[in-house]
Structure formats: C-alpha cells, structure tokens
C-alpha cells in the first residue's frame, strides 16, 4: 500500500469516490444481470465493478474521516462475523431445504440465482436451496476446522513446550515423531487416514488436527527454547519452582501468543484441506452439504450448463478463506514478528 498523503483534498476525494462508487455498482449490477454476454465476460465485468466499487468506497471513507481506514480488513471481518453468526443460527433462520431431498420434490431444479425469489442463490439438481446448503456447509466446515485447530493447538503446543524445555532425549524422540508426521504430505496423510476412518465430523476434526500438530510443536519448541534461557526463568528456578510450574506459569504465557497467531493462519489451511477432502468424495458425504462436496456436484457436465452450482459454494469458500488469511496475516504481524516474514 502506498504512503498516506497528509494533505487530503477532501471535496475532490469525495467527488471521485462517489463517482467511482456509482460507476462500480452500475458495472456490478450490469455484469450480474445482463443476459446478452458470455459468462466469462459477465464475470469479468462483475469483478471489475466490484473493484471499482471498492475504490469508490475507500475514497469516500477517506474523504469523510480524513484518514485511511483498512476497508478490506473491515469488510473481511464483517464477512467472518456474518458467516459465523449465520452458521450458528442456521437452524432458526428462514432458509430453504438443505439436505432432505424428499421435501424438495416440487421445487425447481438447477435454478439460477435470482436474488428476490425463495432461492436467492439458486438450487441444485435436486431442488435443494444453495443459500441454505452454503450456510449449513459453513457450519460443518467451521466446526471441523475450529475443533481441529483447538486440538492441534493444545496438544501440539504442550508437546512443543515439553520438547523445548527438557531438550535431550525427550526432544529427539518428539522430533522424530514430528518429522514422521511431516514426512507425509498433508493431503496424502488425509487420504490415507480416510481409508479407515468413517467420515464423520469428529473423525475429520481428529484427522485434520494431525495436520496442525507438527507445525505447532515446532513453533512452541522454538519459542520455549528462546524463553527458557531468559532471566525470569532462571529466577523462578532459583526460587525452587518445580519444572511443571516453570513450564505452566513462566513459559506457556510467553509461548501462547505466537502459537495462537499460527493457529489463526492454520485455520484457512484446514478449511481448504477439509474442502479438498470432501471434494474428492472422502470427507463429509452427500446429502449433508459442505463447500467441498457442493463444488463436486458441478463435476461431470453440470457446471457447463449451470455454473452457479460451482460458483456459489466456491465463492463462500473463497471469501471465508480470504478473510481468515487476512486475519492470520494481521495476527502474525502483531504477535509473531519472527515468522511474519515467511
């Protein structure tokens, strides 16, 4: 991003902002609704419109507030809060049918998105509502990833602190097991696990947590080693604190922040991993929706005629991963300056 210009020409910024905003919204709406053009061109116009709208909005904000705001980050957080709320409240929201095929016998199938109808984001080939399925998909996806990251952080973090504090034999043995987990590429590990785990929410969370553990162990270990040589640890030891107490009261509070920022970064990785597994047919099974298996519905010809079947869940997935990536970047810049660069 470029350096903030101290002297903001307020009326001019406001004017260009408003003009860009209007043009952008017009372009977006045109791209969305025009029937005349090919899909690729429509999508291009739509995206261009969004970009122009964004520029207009950020200029307007600059003009009104007189200083720069990180609009993109705010929008991303609004999306995250929105999707989490929607996922939590999904059962009580007035949504269409998400997995019961028997209830949708009379619904239109493969309906394109039309914002002001019963199915604002369209339906799939069984008449199930895509908005509802996307939100229930968010529910599954978020529950699995957050559960996995929680397990990974607690287990991996503790093992890392233990390895970093005791060093020597403990460290070597833990190192060998960590490296063994790292020696199998993540997706291959998941596929191998899926040969014997039945794909339930709990099992998937467990499998995904195995992906996050090695990284957590390494990070917690490296930080523990750095902190264990500091004076306050020495002081605690001289005062006769037990090893357990030193780890819990002196080391863990210092290791928590970098580990936590890594956890935020890992969430999006785990969401993608879960989606990929479901896309391959090895994760959550139909008719229960996840973003991955919804995208997979578009395979084998359906997406040529009905691109929205891929694009709707794909957009949900993209926006969520994007928002988590942005959040992770912020978290690392703030709490873990060492690994922020890589």
């Amino acid at each position: 991003m470029f350096m903030p210009d101290n002297s903001v020409n307020r009326p001019r910024t406001l004017a260009t902002g408003a003009a860009l905003l209007v043009a952008g919204i017009a372009l977006t709406a045109f791209g969305w609704s025009t029937p005349a053009l090919v899909l690729a061109v429509k999508a291009l116009l739509f995206l261009l419109g969004l970009a122009v709208t964004y520029q207009g909005l950020s200029r307007l904000l600059l003009g009104i507030r007189g200083k720069r705001t990180d609009l993109l980050f705010n929008l991303a957080m609004i999306w995250l809060v929105g999707i989490v709320l929607a996922a939590i409240l999904a059962p009580v929201l007035p949504l269409g049918e998400h997995n019961n095929v028997a209830a949708t016998l009379y619904e239109p199938i493969n309906m394109s998105p039309q914002l002001l109808t019963d199915h604002p984001l369209g339906t799939n080939n069984q008449g199930l509502d895509l908005l509802s399925r996307s939100i229930y998909g968010a529910r599954t996806s978020l529950v699995i990833s957050l559960l996995a990251i929680a397990i990974g952080t607690v287990v991996g973090g503790s093992i890392g602190v233990i390895a970093g504090y005791f060093r020597k034999g403990t460290d070597s043995i833990i190192g060998i097991f960590t490296n063994a987990l790292l020696a199998v590429p993540p997706l291959i590990l998941l596929i191998a696990l899926s040969t014997f785990l039945t794909p339930s929410t709990r099992n998937l969370a467990f499998a995904l947590s195995l992906l996050s553990i090695p990284g957590m162990v390494r990070l917690a270990r490296a930080n523990t080693i750095a902190f264990a040589q500091r004076e306050f640890v020495m002081a605690a030891r001289l005062m006769g604190a037990t090893r357990f107490r030193i780890m819990l009261r002196e080391l863990v509070p210092n290791v928590v922040l970098p580990v936590f920022s890594m956890a935020v970064v890992m969430i999006s990785v785990l969401i993608v991993a879960e989606a990929s597994l479901s896309f391959l047919g090895l994760g959550i099974q139909q008719p229960d929706p996840t973003w991955g298996n919804m995208v997979a519905e578009g395979e084998g010809g359906a997406m040529e005629d009905y691109p929205h079947i891929v694009l709707v869940p794909g957009t949900f997935l993209f926006l969520t991963v994007f928002a988590f990536n942005l959040l992770g970047e912020k978290a690392q810049q703030r709490w873990d300056t060492r690994s922020a660069k890589l």
Binding site: M1, F2, M3, V38, L39, A40, G175, I176, F177, N179, A180, L182, A183, V184, P185, P186, L187, I188, I191, A192, S194, T195, F196, T198, S268, V272, A275, S276, F279, L280, G281, L282, G292, V295, G298, E299, M303, E304, P307, V310, G314, L317, F318, V321, F322, N325, K341, L342
Partner: protein
C-alpha cells in the same frame, strides 16, 4: 561428517516410524480385508485360506517385518482390487506422470513469479505493484480444486484450447504431452506462483535498499541489469526455503489436479485405492511419496550452504 551421519540416522528413524504408521493402518481398517476381497457369502474354507495367504493370522510385528523386508527388496505385494496387479508396477507406471506435473508446475510458477516479483519490486507502491500484490493475495485463497474447475470451465470447455481427461505419454508424443500437461501444470502452479511472487517481491525490496545497489545505480547501470545481476541472487534465499516448504502443498495440488483432469498419476491412483479400501496400494503409494518427500527436503536443506555461504558453518 559426524553431523552428516547424525542427520542420516535421523532420516532413517523418521522413515522407520512412517513405514510403521503406514503399515499399522491395516489393523485400524474397519471390517476384515479378506471379507472385502471375497464379498459376502463366501465359503469358510476359502476365507481361512485367504486369511492365511494375506498373513492376517500372524502377529502385527512379524507381518510388519515381512512387509518391510519385502519393501526394501522392491516387493510391495499385490493390489486387492481386480486386476490384482503388482503394487510396484502400478506405482512405476503412475509416478512419472505425477513427477512431470509437479516439476512443470514448479517451473511454471518460478518462470512467472520471478519477472512478476521483479516488476512489482521495481515499481513498489505504484498501481501495478498494488494490483499484482492484491491479486496474488487473492489467488492464495483459491483452493486448487476450485481454480482447476473454473479454468477447465473457461479454457477446456468454453474456449476449447486444451483437452481434458486425456493423457499422452512423454515418450510417445512430446508435443502432445506438453499440450495435455500445460493446463493441469498451470493449476498446480497458481498457489505457488502467488506465494513465490509475494516473498520474492518483499525480499527484493529489502535488497534494493542496500548500499551496494545504490553504488551500482550511481555507476549508471540500467535498472533491469541491477535487478538481474545484483539483486536477484541475494534475495532468493527465502524463496528456496519456501520452495522446500511448498513441496507438500505441491504434491497435494498434484493429487487434486490428477483427479480433476483424470490423469493416470499417483494421485488418481491413491484416491481410487482409498475409495475401494485397497490398502496395499495405498500403503505402497504413501510409502513411496514419503520417501521421495523426505529425500527432496534433505537435498534442499543441504543446498542452503551453496546458496548462502553464511549458513555453511552456523546451523540454526
């Protein structure tokens, strides 16, 4: 030399743990492999015979030993699903396809990332730089299966520029092979491209602020030459580290892409095998991939010393 031996011993220990983990998968399988081969309603004699033949009656450790000694001599057993072919043959047939895709993806990513990063870094803060940075950050958030489907939708089905669901072996028709591999390789390259461009751009900007670059500029060297001869090599250290780290993801995207484009590589093989519960094939493939992965990572570790002499003595 001692360091070298220690490192080698560690690698062996890791591979040992991996192979045991991979092998122990069978015992965790739901149901009985013998039943899944014979199907329901089999005669009890055939069942007993097959269990004996598969060695399912022996204790786990002795079965592991048999499997491992087989694996060392290049025998990973037979696949369970008809045609019950030799696992090693299947892997030898599939491995080159995956290797080619992964290497092409990596090369493509580097070929695109280096100029993009150089352009971005030399116009840091400008409009082009911001557009490149923003689109790279966005690309990072597109899972490869989604990018693949959309690219197939546009380039293979819409415009018809590339074939889909076909494969021509490199030996048979090199040009046709490239044509078939280009779109899949590009999908694999996308995420890596975004990461490489980001990291190289940042490092280049740091390097460009160094005094010796100023000196070169003062001598009147053209900017592109400063970029290529002076700035690129010292800035590529993080890039190489990142290439090592991205290897796992690269293999993952290769698996997805093979599935998407129906290419006969390790990925499609392992997914089909996992779906059919064909565990000898899954085990063999995972073992081979893990060995390749560990070996490449060790090589990358060793190459740091060459790239950056400062790391030759002091190891982190």
């Amino acid at each position: 030399m001692r360091r070298f031996l220690l490192r080698g011993g560690e690698l062996l220990a890791v591979l040992f743990v991996v192979s045991f983990g991979v092998f122990a998968m069978i015992t965790l399988m739901p149901g009985d492999p013998a039943v899944s081969i014979l199907g329901e309603g089999h005669p009890p004699e055939a069942y007993a015979e097959l269990r004996q033949e598969l060695g399912l009656n022996d204790p786990l450790l002795s079965r592991y030993w048999d499997w491992l000694s087989g694996a060392v001599t290049g025998d990973l057993g037979n696949s369970l699903v008809p045609p019950q072919s030799d696992v090693v043959d299947r892997i030898l047939g599939a491995f080159p396809v995956s290797l080619q895709l992964a290497v092409m993806g990596l090369v493509l990513a580097l070929l695109l990332a280096v100029p993009l990063a150089m352009w971005s870094a030399s116009h840091a803060g400008g409009a082009v730089d911001r557009i490149i940075s923003a689109s790279m950050f966005a690309t990072l958030s597109v899972p490869s299966f989604l990018a693949g489907l959309i690219l197939i939708m546009v380039f293979a089905n819409g415009l018809g520029w590339f074939p889909r669901a076909q494969w021509v072996r490199l030996g048979e028709d090199p040009i046709g092979n490239l044509h078939h591999a280009l779109l899949p390789a590009f999908v694999i390259a996308l995420t890596e491209l975004a990461l490489f461009t980001r990291i190289l751009r940042n490092d280049l900007i740091t390097t460009l602020n160094e005094d010796y670059i100023l000196a070169a500029r003062a001598k009147g060297m053209p900017p592109w030459r400063i970029m290529v001869t002076d700035a690129l090599r010292p800035s590529s250290f993080s890039l190489v580290t990142l290439m090592g780290l991205s290897l796992g993801r690269l293999i993952g995207s290769t698996v997805i892409v093979e599935y998407l484009f129906a290419l006969p590589g390790m990925g499609s093989m392992i997914i089909t095998a996992a779906n059919q519960g064909d565990f000898p094939l899954v085990q063999g493939a995972v073992l081979v991939i893990a060995i390749a992965y560990v070996a490449i990572n060790a090589t990358i570790d060793a190459s740091y010393g060459y790239l950056d002499p400062r790391t030759r003595r002091v190891h982190a």
